[in-house]
Subunit: 412 residues, 2 copies
């Protein structure tokens, strides 16, 4: 199936400069997609390190199980990454484990490193055994043609139902030295990361210890990928990894709390949020990008749960698709979240216009400006639940006919 580019897509893929120590190559495996790259090999310079956060699914895929173990065993050392799209490697039992092992063995051979320095991801249909020889047969050739450019091609190679490649880039300063941060991501359905995320890879030439990297990544994820949802379904393969080659000419940073990382942290968080938003903007069938801002909750965690309850409600999402300012459904979604809310003092606004306050429709409420807002592509929902100071922002898209078209026969 071919899908039209999301109307919410950014104008173009950002210009992304090389990162010292990172080389990329793509190819076509013939596994599912024809005439487009569907496998990515990333080679990292010796001395590179990595951190990762993964799906919390109880039926996590083979690659996720491997990556988690490898990060631990290799103490964060990283030399390579292999990602294929179109055929996941989830719920494939011993066959799937063998496919991971063989891919890692062949990749570490091609790269001249040890197995636990190689990370793998597979995305696509669950439950179809992965013929990894279609991938491993390409690795030596891919390594030879790997270059430090080609980020858009890399982002394209990991797409499934995505309608555009996703990338984000920033330059940060550490001790006055410029370091680069490049990230790519894929995802448009089965998106409700909760504790981890879809597939996203961020690269930098900064010299930061694996432990500090992990802390930065975990914190950044909490307010970016963990605050988005397309359809409330959490994947078995969600993976977000951050690789650092350490080739920038500043002294290594060991602690995430170091003030030297302030700018890096800001820029990293910008990249993570940008990528997360790009995933929502490519949400299956999306025609509206929706920001849900919750204040006045018992605490930030409660605010996020309320925000996700609104963002995941099929009734709220179909109303937005229909350009209907049906705020009663927002009240319903607040109520079902299970977190404290003061029904008789809460406030609901859409497009910056207060619609309801003190538990009833706002006095003199005029729906005209809100109706106009609903016709736009960027929808803003603000809710104050009037019990505390907790706040959170989450992002989602609308639920349209195209979501059903895409998912009613994904496998055919």
């Amino acid at each position: 199936m071919d899908f039209k580019k999301s109307p919410l897509a950014p104008k173009s893929f950002p210009r992304m400069d090389p990162i010292p120590g990172v080389r990329l190559a793509t190819a076509n495996t013939g596994l599912r997609y024809k005439g487009r790259p569907d496998v990515l090999l990333v080679e990292l310079e010796e001395g590179s390190v990595a951190a990762g956060v993964f799906t919390t699914s109880k039926t996590a895929s083979g690659p996720v199980v491997w990556d988690r173990a490898a990060l631990k065993q290799g103490e964060g050392r990283a030399r390579g990454l292999v990602v294929n799209a179109g055929n996941a490697n989830a719920f494939t039992g011993r066959l799937g484990e063998a496919a991971v092992r063989n891919t890692v063995a062949k990749a570490s051979q091609a790269l001249g490193c040890s197995a636990e320095e190689v990370f793998v991801s597979s995305t696509g249909t669950i439950g179809v055994p992965l013929d990894e020889t279609k991938i491993t047969g390409l690795l030596s050739k891919m390594r030879l043609k790997a270059t430090d450019s080609g980020w858009a091609e890399a982002a394209r190679a990991i797409m499934t139902t995505d309608t555009y490649p996703k990338g984000s880039t920033r330059t940060a300063e550490i001790d006055g030295v410029a370091v680069r941060i490049n990230g790519i991501a894929k995802g448009s359905g089965m998106i409700a990361p909760d504790m981890a995320t879809l597939l996203a890879y961020v690269f930098t030439d900064a010299a930061i210890s694996p432990k500090a990297l992990h802390k930065l990544l975990a914190e950044g994820t909490e307010r970016s990928f963990n605050c988005i949802t397309v359809d409330s379904d959490t994947s078995t393969s969600d993976t977000l990894m951050l690789f650092a080659t350490g080739m920038a000419e500043h002294k290594p940073v060991r602690k995430a709390s170091s003030h030297r990382l302030k700018d890096f942290k800001d820029k990293l968080n910008e990249v993570l949020l940008d990528l997360a938003h790009q995933v929502v903007r490519d949400g299956e069938g999306a025609t509206k990008f929706v920001t849900v801002h919750v204040t006045g909750a018992e605490n930030d965690r409660a605010a996020k749960r309320i925000g996700l309850s609104i963002a995941n409600s099929p009734l709220v999402k179909t109303a937005i698709a229909g350009q209907d300012a049906n705020w009663g459904r927002i009240v319903m979604a607040v109520g079902k979240a299970g977190e404290a809310a003061d029904r008789d003092h809460m406030t609901v606004a859409m497009g910056g216009v207060v619609i309801a306050e003190k538990g009833q429709p706002a006095e003199g409420y005029d729906e005209a400006p809100v109706a106009a807002h609903m016709k736009g592509q960027e929808i803003l929902i603000e809710v104050d639940v009037a019990v505390g100071r907790g706040k959170a922002t989450v992002w989602t898209c609308d639920l349209t006919h195209a979501y059903i078209d895409i998912n009613a026969d994904y496998r055919t």
Copy 2:
């Protein structure tokens, strides 16, 4: 909007005999619907009692707040019930509270009883103030024309987006005396009752104490209305009440645990389950009735959470709509439920055919019979998660284009 009758609807409304002590009347308020009854008055003989379970929403509607308090204050005494459809009375603040108070006052006057013996429900659009005078002006006339028949008309009067009236009836024996149980219900969207339910009212002439009634109702709900979901959205107005006139000629029963209630309990549970299934069969846009049976979970509660995770997954529901046996999404939904599951020993079957076992596709799996099953209207999903003895069955429907059509512009 007019919607075609659900393809899953029962052939006809069941023949329901009178219940001694219960009289019904319907009328049209002109509030939203034209040319059909949209308000129901039920008069109960002196000495009747009631029990109720209600939404767990933190933004519960005015009528729910009233009913809960009245049951407590009146110690379960019941003389009347007023239900209107098309205009809810939720998130309407002080105006809404006044509307409840006035309705109850006028109804208790018409019925010659005290306020806390009258129960009210309103269903329809949230956040629109309810002009209760359109209801109260009709009550005296309705009381005069109330009869002991007209159950189908009563079920019709409480419908909103429902495409058919829902009723169920059984006869049970207590001490060798035949007692009747009649139930009616409405609901087709915003259905994920969790701890309570949509709108459903069950009547009996049995003589059972309010405390015992409540226990029977709460237990029965747990395995019927609390095991269904249409769209994972929990309403602000969910209400399930059980009324007993006590006019049957057996000695009153005080304890829910009494062995004298065995047959009554069985038949009551049948009525509750029948009504719950009828709600799912009228799920907005439904074309398939889906039974999800989970075994091998840590405990029954875990099994139910896993079942609801499958039943609420938009990816599972759209695949079913597309008649696609995409069992990988079932594995995904098991994984995201957060309950223990042994990925490498679990089993998934559809239509009685084992598709996957021991963490991978079943040996020699032939999709043909499963594909044929998916074309039918009754879909069976069975999952064994291989960690314990917990089990549960939940019911849902598929997610189709019609759900979006119905909900994208519900208010217009």
